[in-house]
Amino acid sequence: MERRTIFPGRLLPILLVLPQLALTIVFFLFPAGEAMWSSLTQVDAFGLHTQFVGLGNFAGLFSDPRYLHTIWRTAVFCASVTVLSLAVALALAVFADREIRGRGWYRTMLIWPYAVAPAVSAVLWVFLMNPQVGLFGRWLNGTALHWDYAINGGQAMLLVIIAAAWKQVSYNFIFFLAGLQSIPRTVVEAARMDGAKGWRRFRTITLPLLMPTTFFLIIVDLVYAAFDTFATIMALTQGGPGKATETLVVKVYRDGVINLDLGGSSAQSVVLMVAIITLTALQFRFLGQRRVD
C-alpha cells in the first residue's frame, strides 16, 4: 500500500510548487528557449546583424565530419568513464560492506573525493601526471611509454577518462553501498546455506538486486561524463592534442565563448539537450517497468 499526502484545496500546493517552477522557468526554460531561437540564426558577436537561417546551422553541423567524430569521441568517453567508474565503485562498495575493522573510516575516505571541485581535481592531476613537472608523469615520461599527453592523443584521452572517472567513484560508491545494504540478509544467508560460493552469490543474487541502482547510476554517470567533465578536460588538455579530447561540451564552449560563433554553438547545445532529454526519458521508462518491490 502506498503512502500519499493529500493536500486540501489547490492554493497551498500551487504556492509550494511555485518557487521551484519559477527557478525552472528562469534558469532552464528561458535560456533553453533562447538557445533554440539562437540556433536558428547566424549572428555576429555584438548582435548587430542577425540572420535567420532556419536549420542551416544544424545542417552545417551534421555535414561536418569533424562534428560527427566529436559525437563518436564523446560517446566513447562517456561509456568509458561510466564503465570504469561503476566497476571501481562497485568493487569498493562490496569490500566496504563487509564486517571489517575501520569500515566506517574506509567509507568516509571513499566519499571525500566527491567534495573536490572538478577544476581543483584537474590541477591536482596535472601536478601528478604532467610529463615535465608532474610527480609521477616525469618518471613515466622516461620509461618506454614516452608519457606525454601534450602530443599523444591516446594518452590524453586515457588521462581525462581516468581523471573524470575518479571524481565520480565516490558518488557511485554511496549509492552502491546503500543498495547493497538494502539486500535482505535472509536471502544471502539462504543462498550460503545452499552452498553458493562468493562469486556465484554475487552474480546470481547481489547483482540482479542491484539492477535498479545500477541503471540509475548509469544514466547519472553518462550525464556527468557528458557535462560535468568540462572543467576537468579544459584544465588538463583544453581539448587537445589535435582534438583528441574535445567532447561535445568542450566544443560548445570553444565555439560559443572563444570563437564567438553563437549560432553554431547554440545549435550544438540544442543537440546535446535533445540527447540528454532522450536519455532521461528512456531512464524513466525503464525504471518504471523494472520496479522491484
Binding site: Q42, A45, G47, L48, A150, N152, P241, N259, L260, D261
Partner: protein, 444 residues
C-alpha cells in the same frame, strides 16, 4: 535566540562585504575593464591612481574581469545589455571582432575628432600602433600593453655544449645546427622548444620574413581575406620543425604558455616566448639566460623585418546615454597613457615595450636599457626594417579559432598522420571556412 543571532550574523556579513569603489561626487566616472592580475594589476592600479590625481574632472575605476577571453566575452555581453564599460582591454586576436563591432566602439581617431583631445598617431611606434589601426592608418584602439616574441636561450647549456653564449644562432639553419650540437653533447634535456606555437611560427614568422599570412593585406583591406599559410615558406618552416621533432632536437610541448615551465626549469636550451617573461626569469631562473632576435630563413629573406606585437589594446565602448563628458574623460586618459613619463614608467615596471617614441627615448636617456640587459632587444626587433603590409599585424576575425586550427593540424602532423604540406592545406581550408562564416555574420 537562535534566529536573532542568525539575523545579526547575516547583517554583519552584508555590511562587511567588499564595496565597489565609487567615484567621488562631481567627477566623471570612467569604468575600465581589464585583464591584468597579480603584479601587473598592482602596477595598473598605480598608473590609474596617478591619472586620477593628475586632474580633477575625471576618475577612472578599474575592474578586473579575468583572462582575456573572459574580458572580451563580458564586454560583448555588457554592450548587448546596454551596460558596456567605458574602456575595455581586448587582446590582440580580438581586434578583428572589435573592428567589426560597428556602433559598439568609438575609434580613437573619432574620439580625437569629437573631443578635441590631442592624440597624434605619429607619436606611436609604427609596428606597435599598426596592429590597431585601420587600413588607412587611423587609430582604432589605443595600444597599451604590448610585447613581442624573442628567442630565449640557456647560456649555461650553450657553454656546456661548447657553443658561444654571446653569439646565439641568428638564422633557422643555425638554430637547427645548434640544436643538434646541444643534443649530442647532452647539454639539456630538450635542445629546443617553443611557447605559443601558432603565434610564433606562423604570425611572427610571416611578419619577420615578409610573407603574407592572409590575402587582403593580412585582412586589413577587407573581410574577404583568405589564408595563405600553405605557401612554400610556411611549409618548409613547419617541415623543418617536424623533422627536428623526429630527430629529437625540438620538443612540441603544448599550446599557448603551457610549455613555459620547460624553459624556466632549465630543461630546454632554446625557446621562443613573449618578451614579457623577462621579469619571471630574473626572479626565478637558476641559470644564466639571454635573449636574441627571432631567427629568420635566409632562403626567404636576406634582411628580416620587424616582428608583430602581442598583448592588448584599449577600446572605447559606447552605451546609450553616454555623455560627451565621459568620452572626453576617456580621451584624456588615453592621452595620459601616451605621455613619455607614464609610458616609460609602465614599460619599466611591467616589462612591456614602450608604445611611444617619447617613452622609448626617455628610457634610453635614463640609461634604463644599458643597466638592464635584454630589455631593449624586443623594441629593437620591433623597430628594425620598415613596416610592410605583411608586418603590420593580422586583422582577421576568429583569430583564436584559426590559431587552434593551426595547432591542431600541427599536432596531427606530429603524430605522423600527415606531413607539413597536408597539414597546412587542411588548416587553410578549415580557416577559410571560419573566415567566411565571420564575414557572413558581420555583413548580415
Amino acid at each position: 535566540m537562535k534566529r536573532r543571532s542568525l539575523l545579526a550574523g547575516a547583517a554583519a556579513l552584508a555590511a562587511a562585504s567588499p564595496r565597489i569603489s565609487l567615484a567621488a561626487a562631481g567627477k566623471t566616472r570612467v569604468v575600465f575593464w581589464h585583464a591584468m592580475n597579480g603584479a601587473l594589476g598592482a602596477e595598473l592600479n598605480k598608473l590609474i591612481a596617478r591619472f586620477n590625481a593628475s586632474q580633477a574632472t575625471a576618475e577612472v575605476v578599474p575592474v578586473f574581469k579575468g583572462g582575456y577571453p573572459e574580458t572580451l566575452t563580458a564586454a560583448i555581453a555588457a554592450w548587448r545589455a546596454h551596460q558596456a564599460p567605458h574602456i575595455a582591454q581586448i587582446f590582440d586576436v580580438g581586434t578583428g571582432s572589435m573592428v567589426a563591432a560597428g556602433p559598439a566602439v568609438t575609434d580613437v581617431w573619432k574620439l580625437v575628432k569629437d573631443t578635441g583631445v590631442a592624440i597624434d598617431a605619429k607619436n606611436y611606434i609604427p609596428s606597435v600602433r599598426g596592429y590597431y589601426t585601420l587600413a588607412d592608418g587611423r587609430m582604432a584602439s589605443m595600444p597599451f600593453n604590448s610585447s613581442t616574441v624573442v628567442m630565449w636561450y640557456n647560456k649555461d647549456a650553450f657553454e656546456k655544449a661548447g657553443l658561444d653564449p654571446a653569439k646565439p644562432p641568428a638564422t633557422w639553419p643555425e638554430v637547427v645546427k645548434a640544436a643538434e650540437v646541444l643534443k649530442s653533447k647532452n647539454a639539456a634535456k630538450y635542445a629546443c622548444t617553443t611557447s605559443w606555437p601558432a603565434w610564433v611560427h606562423f604570425e611572427q614568422f610571416s611578419a619577420v620574413q615578409n610573407v603574407p599570412f592572409a590575402s587582403e593585406a593580412d585582412g586589413f583591406k577587407g573581410l574577404g581575406a583568405k589564408l595563405e599559410i600553405n605557401a612554400p615558406a610556411f611549409v618548409s618552416n613547419l617541415q623543418r620543425l617536424l623533422d627536428m621533432s623526429k630527430a629529437g632536437t625540438f620538443k612540441y610541448a603544448g599550446r599557448d604558455n603551457t610549455p613555459d615551465p620547460i624553459f624556466y626549469s632549465g630543461q630546454a636550451a632554446i625557446t621562443f616566448n613573449s618578451s614579457g617573461i623577462l621579469g619571471d626569469l630574473k626572479k626565478s631562473a637558476k641559470f644564466k639566460w639571454g635573449n636574441a632576435f627571432l631567427p629568420y630563413d635566409p632562403a626567404v629573406i636576406k634582411t628580416p623585418l620587424n616582428s608583430i606585437i602581442g598583448g592588448a589594446s584599449l577600446w572605447a565602448m559606447t552605451a546609450p546615454h553616454r555623455t560627451p563628458a565621459e568620452y572626453k574623460a576617456v580621451a584624456e586618459f588615453f592621452a595620459f597613457l601616451g605621455q613619455p613619463a607614464q609610458d616609460a614608467e609602465w614599460s619599466r615596471t611591467t616589462g612591456y615595450v614602450p608604445v611611444t617614441f617619447g617613452g622609448y627615448n626617455l628610457l634610453k636617456s635614463q640609461n634604463y636599457y644599458t643597466q638592464n640587459p635584454g630589455t631593449e632587444l624586443p623594441i629593437q626587433q620591433l623597430t628594425r626594417g620598415h613596416v610592410t603590409e605583411n608586418s603590420k599585424g593580422i586583422r582577421l576575425g576568429q583569430m583564436p579559432q584559426i590559431r587552434v586550427i593551426i595547432e591542431e593540424e600541427w599536432e596531427k602532423a606530429l603524430q605522423g598522420q600527415q606531413n607539413a604540406k597536408q597539414a597546412l592545406d587542411v588548416a587553410v581550408q578549415r580557416g577559410n571556412t571560419v573566415l567566411r562564416q565571420f564575414e557572413r555574420a558581420v555583413k548580415g
